[in-house]
Amino acid sequence: MSLNTVKHEMPCQDPKVRAKNFDEVALGYDKETAIAEASRCLGCKKEPCRQGCPVQVPIPQFIAKVKEGDFSGAISTIKEKNALPAVCGRVCPQEAQCEKYCVLGKKGDPVGIGRMERFVADWEREQGIKPVECAPPTGKKVAVVGSGPAGLTVAADCAQAGHKVTIFEALHVAGGVLMYGIPEFRLPKAIVQAEIENLKKMGVEIQVDAVIGAIDTVDELLENEGYDAVFIGTGAGLPYFLKIPGENLNGVYSANEFLTRTNLMKGYLFPEYDTPVKVGKKVAVLGGGNVAMDCARTALRLGAEEVYIVYRRSMEELPARVEEVHHAEEEGVIFKILTNPTKIIGNDENWVVGMECLKYELGEPDASGRRSPVAISGSEHIVDVDTVVVAIGQGPNPLVPRTTKGLETNKWGNIVASEETGLTSKPAVYAGGDVVTGAATVIKAMGAGRVAANSICELLKK
């Protein structure tokens, strides 16, 4: 293969070593590699890559700057559209977005867009991020509920337009899933906090430990606290369970509990930190998405000897990012595909001692075009495990809708908001991110945040 068909490799920690530590797996390009990778870009006039980006980052333009070694110019170009490039460069599913449309991808590897984005964002952070200039104060107040990527984007955009922004976050740190869910080894928490510090420098006030619906309702923010607009970005934080027998046994966690204990509460440093997280010798993670991969790889790092991903369909249908599946396999996670649990088995003391599963085969394609899995009768078997992590998805937390008059939700409990404006059924109340779409991606949440911020700024002009 000629040089131009192969993406420059991402240097990574050795799989055997990294499976035992929480340090970041991917180490990032250096200057030379970034420039060399940028040189692969053909600079297509039609910019197909850009159409794949939910926030339309000017990709060929920023790559052109990287190629010239103008990293400062490159990062400014990205930031026109994306306020959190260090995060997105690490966690975006580029293979399904920008890189999917790269012309080079037809004959070889697409250009490593995400890797370059990460490089320039890291480069900028090392130089010290320049605070963004904000417009003169408008005297208008915006409340942002939830500090995940959607809320952070709204806060940044509204602050830049000169509005006084306050973020209300239920947990004790800001960042949403970026802090409590996605593990340190994939997204170092210091990077997220650097972005949040940056927001504070722009004058954004962050109130942690503030559960909206409990301490103040959305209506009270508007009526009593003098906010001119409210954005709801409370995410999809409600864990689903399978509703099979044994899910309340000791040793069964939701993915959220497992990851929150480990990441947010730093359970991997117990007892230096006070929050324990317990992992047995054999761990089954139920589900096949990014969250499941994160749980499986976390379990390995916490000392589990064997970790299984138990998934109903086949490897091709795994919804997780290809790179994450690949990393998990390298680290030794075992994939029990076409397998689905029917019950979790406990001992007298309520501890998990095994899991009964059925084998599946793929049948006819269903409405979504995916071949639907069909249980093979008589294939019951026991998988020997002592810990089970349920990672089959999350829904929206009902607290805000339940306490807000006239806020429309759909049958899954998601807040109904216009795709074009982010406006909900309530005047001056906007929503976006996972609470509207259901569990999606960081970049989509940011995209929705930008749309809502634009509408809020329009509203506040009046």
Partner: protein, 281 residues
Amino acid sequence: MFKIVRKEVLSPTLKLFDIEAPKVAKKCQAGQFIILRIDEKGERIPLTIADFDREKGTITLIFAEVGKTTQQLGQLEAGDSILDFVGPLGRASEIEKYGRVVCIGAGVGIAPVFPITRALKEAGNEVIGIAGARSKDLLFWTDEFKAQCDEFHVCTDDGTAGVKGNVTEILKKIIEEKGQVDYVICIGPIPAMKYTSLLTKPYGIKTFVSLNSIMVDGTGMCGACRVTVGDEMKFSCVDGPEFDGHLVDFDEQMRRAQIFKDEEARALAKGSCGGGGCGCH
């Protein structure tokens, strides 16, 4: 930061704090709880609100020193501050005019049952209170509790105060003597709540208990606090903490309370090991 404005030592292992948290104090209602974290390395623990003063902006907490975090908390003094304090969480008690109600506080459960008792009294109920503990020095607030009740009973396991016996025995007598009880709320150790619920079930008396399940976030995000109620999985922090005692699977709650027993022991050993052997150095 949330400042401790007053500390009272109720017994060597039982402490009371008034904590400055005006926003929580403005909003909270009987039956709700808060989550706190002492410092950067601390865990998040739930404590039920024992009292509140809307004017002063304070929340009263009473806790028994049972683990690493509550022991550390007990060492703080008035003037010290706590890093995180979140609330009010959970659903408030259902305060109605039921008729004749019995409010039972067992052990440290006397604290959370106090504001519920007061609210039930204010709602016009005939209130009978029962305060129980292992022994005299673990009893507290009996005068305050009594003041909210039309009739009041005290019991201890060892007979050092009030009647010798447990809260369920007293409740049984009350039901038998009065013939009619319309509502029971019991807060305390799981066995006290379990046996109270078992006792009232055949009589068909509506009985509520308040669970203090293991929690992390307290907002419905992690499911650590799950409990089987009837045939359903519920989250204590958002669906509770109060549940119909006739439907709660107490045995499961009891076993779930043991999940981190080994880790609790390790955390307690930390710092007292004098430099090794515990895994903390």
